[in-house]
């Protein structure tokens, strides 16, 4: 992802170290680091915050209402409360959503094709990620329709 962003920035005339300074912060899966990182970026007075993942977007939203935030992939931004609606997001956030509940439903259908006899499927979710509750609720009917029990 970083290579893609860097390449596109260069194409648009922004060269890091030249006319662009990027303050990168990585939580490496530790959600508790995201809020302080977002607050640090606000203190540094960056002009734009890019986020990867739902939790990073939520942290950025909690940290600022004025600095523009661009999501590079987050769970459903409406159902996680990041934006008011897709048509009129409002606030200072825009970007790309993974629409993950729908993708998870499709993934389960594919799993059913791979393992047609499976009746018990273990599901691992991150309790600290707000999209998890949305996905659980949205995929429940899919599991039922496939005759699969989540364990």
């Amino acid at each position: 992802m970083r290579q893609g962003i860097d390449a596109q920035l260069r194409e648009l005339g922004w060269v890091e170290g030249g006319n662009l300074l990027i303050e990168r912060r990585y939580a490496n899966g530790r959600a508790e680091l995201l809020q302080p990182m977002a607050e640090e970026l606000v203190r540094l007075k960056v002009e734009l915050i890019g986020t990867v993942g739902t939790q990073a977007a939520v942290a950025a939203k909690n940290a600022t209402t004025s600095i523009p935030i661009v999501m590079f992939g987050a769970g459903d931004p409406v159902r996680t409360g990041l934006v008011a609606s897709l048509a009129r997001p409002g606030g200072n956030i825009t970007g790309l959503s993974m629409v993950s509940p729908e993708i998870d439903a499709k993934r389960l259908a594919l799993l059913r094709e791979v393992l047609p006899a499976a009746q018990r499927i273990g599901v691992l979710v991150n309790s600290t990620n707000p999209i998890s509750a949305v996905v659980q609720k949205e995929t429940e009917p899919v599991y039922r329709s496939l005759g699969v029990q989540r364990s």
Binding site: G29, A31, S100, A118, I121, V123, L124, N126, S151
Partner: protein, 58 residues
């Protein structure tokens, strides 16, 4: 369904799913699971699962 809040809970969570005799393991899109995907695969294989790309057949 097993909910985890951090890396330290991953191994036990996979073991618990195996104890419940799940026949497959679904891991949702999440930074925690992406960063620790190798640990999850190793934990699942330790329970006798055969790895798939995103879904593991236990």
């Amino acid at each position: 369904m097993i909910a985890v809040a951090g890396e330290s809970e991953l191994e036990n969570a996979v073991a618990e799913i195996a104890r419940r005799r799940a026949q497959a393991l679904v891991v949702s899109d999440d930074a925690l699971f992406y960063v620790h995907r190798v640990s999850i695969m190793n934990a699942a294989q330790g329970t006798g699962c055969r790895p798939w790309s995103r879904v593991q057949n236990c």
